[in-house]
């Protein structure tokens, strides 16, 4: 026993030998890497929002000089009036930053890294140095993408979907180097994503603590695991496509050039084959986190845990065969189109199962509307709206009319903002104590939530209406069309709500940074939750535990009959619990 204790002591002393750079800059600790991703992605969330503010200015007041617009160079906004080329850069880069550098990094880079080892009972990821490489390549990728806005001819302007030939031919778009930087950035991002995925998958398969069988894993871990598989298999296709696009620009290849026998629709197939699993990557981890938030806030087990797991798997599985619904008006083979319609309608089913199960979880629960719970409930409601608008698009004949209108923009923002981002805000507040050892301020958290909720709906709900009326996407000046002129007051209303929405985020950011230094110090388990991460101090120490925990039950034993409290952590052994046994039939 003394030799074990002595080596443990020596190990601790060894760990504390790390320099500042090793501990916080080039760290291999999954928690630090998760926090690094958090700072990086929150920065890009602000950048993406700033781009959106400019878009909204132009749509509400086309041709009018923008406040602070005189700060922009002549190539973007002479006299503060946005140029059409710059407007297209704005919509392209807003989409790119938000999808890749904000939401993907927030959901996967932050939460897969931070939560997985803590929630399965591991000291760290399977490959800590690869984890570090994944962060720094994402960082490099982000810098390249940001710089592309500042090259002389400006950034890419073909929409985040980069359809050819606008993206491939700089004589069409006017962007040469900026466009090439987009491709290079995405290739670097792909590398980061693939390295991350392989870490998460290996860790979840092989590094679970004793007793943490597959069906005792929290839903957030299931969601992140399945998301990692989606990313592993979809992102390489994007990388391949981005390479082909880059070669089209710098080597003069002809993959997409019809004059040489190339096929523009090939780009769309490659991009959306990645793009559709990508949108499930953008929602599944959020769904997983929401299960944690709602179970905790309802003080009840998740309703239908197994069906929740199968629904996540079902969404991921079906997600591979629906990509053509982004291409209904592309001129693709119509028979192929109708198969995509059927598969797309089907995918509503597992999503609906999840919504009903969250509602079932809350039903007759001992509801506590703390800030994370507010965000979780908002997720369910807003995601449902977003999902319902998706049904309209799934029906090909309807999509003919609403494709590339603001109806689509409404849908995607309902699922990405109303869905993913609300879950992210809830998750940040919920796991903040475990990250930083302090609580975020509850009152300001609630104020931020309500202001965000109100202005978000004010911004995006009317987009359904103007979209149905035919308002197109990526449109520089709606007032040139007579049929859109009656919409203009609504455009103005949307923009004002958007400005107030962005302004409300200041509350969140101040709360976030202020609480880090002045927030109430957090106890080990401030939310009275069951997950393994709450069995280690706040903030969690390097290595997470000295001795790894042993698991005796699932993660949602809230209000268990006979328990002394309304929660029962996974690692607490009751007299009636059996020890984990590694038999061939051991619960796999």
């Amino acid at each position: 026993m003394t030799t074990v204790a002595a080596t443990a002591q020596a190990a601790h002393a060894h760990h504390d030998d790390r320099s500042f750079i090793q501990k916080y800059i080039f760290s291999t600790d999954h928690k630090i890497i998760g926090i690094q991703f958090l700072f990086l992605s929150l920065f890009f969330l602000m950048v993406g929002g700033l781009l959106a503010m400019q878009i909204r200015w132009q749509l509400a007041y086309p041709g009018k000089p923008m406040p602070l617009g005189n700060l922009l160079p002549e190539t973007m906004a002479p006299g503060g009036v946005l140029l059409p080329e710059y407007y297209l850069q704005l919509v392209t880069m807003h989409g790119t930053f938000m999808v890749f550098f904000a939401i993907m990094l927030l959901l996967v880079g932050v939460y897969a890294n931070f939560l997985i080892p803590l929630k399965i009972g591991a000291h760290d990821m399977a490959f800590p140095r690869i984890n570090m490489a994944s962060f720094w390549s994402a960082f490099a990728s982000g810098i390249v993408m940001l710089m592309s806005l500042f090259v002389p001819e400006g950034s890419s302007r073909a929409g985040w979907t980069m359809y050819v030939p606008l993206s491939a031919r700089h004589d069409y778009s006017g962007a040469e180097f900026g466009q090439e930087m987009w491709s290079i950035s995405i290739i670097l991002f792909g590398l980061s994503s693939i390295l991350g995925s392989l870490n998460y998958i290996t860790t979840v398969i092989n590094n679970r603590a004793a007793g943490m069988t597959w069906f005792r894993m929290p839903l957030s871990v299931w969601a992140l695991f399945i998301t990692a598989i989606l990313g592993l298999l979809a992102v390489p296709v994007l990388a391949g496509a981005a390479i082909m696009l880059l070669f089209e620009q710098i080597l003069g290849t002809h993959f997409f050039d019809p004059a040489y026998g190339g096929q523009p629709i090939l780009w769309q197939h490659l991009f959306w084959f990645f793009g559709h699993p990508e949108v499930y990557i953008l929602i599944l981890p959020a769904m997983g986190m929401v299960s944690e938030l709602i179970a905790n806030g309802s003080r009840k087990p998740i309703f239908g845990y197994h069906s929740m797991v199968f629904a996540i798997a079902g969404i991921a599985f079906l997600g591979w065969i629906v990509w053509g619904h982004h291409m209904f008006v592309s001129g693709m083979n119509p028979t192929l189109g109708s198969t995509f319609m059927v598969s797309t309608l089907l995918i509503a089913v597992p999503s609906a199962i999840k919504v009903f199960n969250w509602m079932g979880t809350m039903w007759r629960g001992n509801l506590r509307f703390h800030v994370p719970m507010l965000h979780g409930v908002a997720f369910v409601a807003m995601f449902t709206i977003g999902g319902l608008s998706g049904i309209f698009m799934a029906a090909t004949p309807v999509d003919m009319f609403i494709h590339d209108t603001y109806f689509i923009v409404a849908h995607l923002h309902y699922v990405l903002f109303g869905g993913s981002l609300f879950a992210i805000f809830g998750g940040i507040v919920f796991w903040y104590p475990k990250m930083f050892g302090r609580m975020m301020n509850e009152t300001w958290g609630k104020i931020h939530f309500w202001l965000t909720f109100i202005f978000y709906n004010g911004t995006f709900f009317p987009m359904h209406i103007i979209g149905m009326a035919g308002h197109m996407r990526r449109l520089y000046d709606p007032t040139i069309y007579d049929f859109l002129k009656p919409m203009q007051p609504m455009n103005e209303f949307i923009s004002i709500c958007a400005f107030l929405l962005y302004g409300s985020q200041i509350i969140f950011f101040v709360n976030f940074w202020w609480s880090m230094f002045k927030g109430k110090k957090a106890s080990q388990n401030p939310w009275n939750d069951n997950g393994l991460e709450w069995t280690t101090p706040s903030p969690a120490p390097h290595g997470n535990w000295d001795t790894l925990p042993t698991v005796y039950r699932g993660p949602y034993e809230f209000s268990a009959p006979g328990a002394s409290e309304d929660y029962l952590p996974q690692n607490r052994k009751l007299p009636t619990d059996r020890d984990p046994v590694l038999s061939p039939a051991a619960g796999h």
Binding site: L198, I201, F247
Partner: protein
């Protein structure tokens, strides 16, 4: 391989069984799954473009040298054999045999890359580029006299250089990795029959690269 930190206390029960393949090997298989998708995008695009091309495709052997590439294919297959023999050698505990076969694999891989580079230089000299056929070159004459179809040479060049270029890049990365293992792990005798994961894992990568080439050689050079 245990996931515990050095010196940290162990819980009273062994961890969950997992897939019973150690982390490095599982990680490599997972990485190879992503590589399959990457090559599927590039190779799939080639098949889609060629299948959908309205004109004829160049006949095999006119632009590309089947003889040299056949030798190169054989070379890569041989290096795959030497790799698996290195793996078998260390499994049985023969350090010297393992080092010998690993070195053979590195040399085979390096020769493969060398021959590919030679082929590329030769092709570019004759006028074959990623953008198609260079004006005034030898291949341009073949297009003029109808030996090569003008309509699809652009696609031919684009797909050929992208697919074989990325494959060659992967081979190069493999050679560099093996060289690193050879110099810093194999030669100093850090492998043993109880611990030779690095050999097995780099071997998996190497065989995968060989497997991709088997497909590429057939559908690019012979069809």
């Amino acid at each position: 391989m245990s996931q515990a930190m050095a010196g940290a206390m162990q819980p009273p029960f062994p961890a969950e069984r997992g897939i019973e393949v150690y982390n490095k090997k599982l990680g490599m298989w997972i990485f190879l799954a992503s590589e399959v998708m990457f090559f599927a995008a590039l190779i799939g695009s080639y098949v889609i473009l060629r299948f959908g091309a309205t004109g004829a495709w160049a006949k095999p052997g006119i632009v590309l040298s089947i003889q040299i590439t056949a030798f190169n294919t054989f070379l890569l297959i041989c290096s795959s054999v030497s790799m698996v023999k290195a793996y078998a050698a260390i499994q049985d505990g023969y350090q010297d045999k393992m080092k010998f076969w690993l070195l053979m694999t590195i040399l085979g891989g390096a020769c493969f890359v060398g021959i590919q580079v030679y082929e590329y230089i030769h092709l570019v000299e004759h006028g074959f580029l990623p953008s198609g056929v260079r004006e005034g070159s030898h291949l341009a004459e073949l297009v003029e006299n109808g030996t090569l179809p003008a309509a699809t040479m652009g696609l031919y060049g684009s797909t050929f250089f992208t697919m074989t270029g990325f494959h060659g890049f992967h081979v190069t990365c493999g050679v560099i990795s093996m060289l690193y293992l050879y110099l810093f792990k194999a030669l100093p005798g850090k492998y043993s029959p109880q611990d030779f994961g690095g050999i097995e894992v780099v071997g998996l990568y190497w065989h995968f690269v060989d497997l991709v080439w088997i497909i590429l050689f057939t559908i690019v050079y012979l069809v």
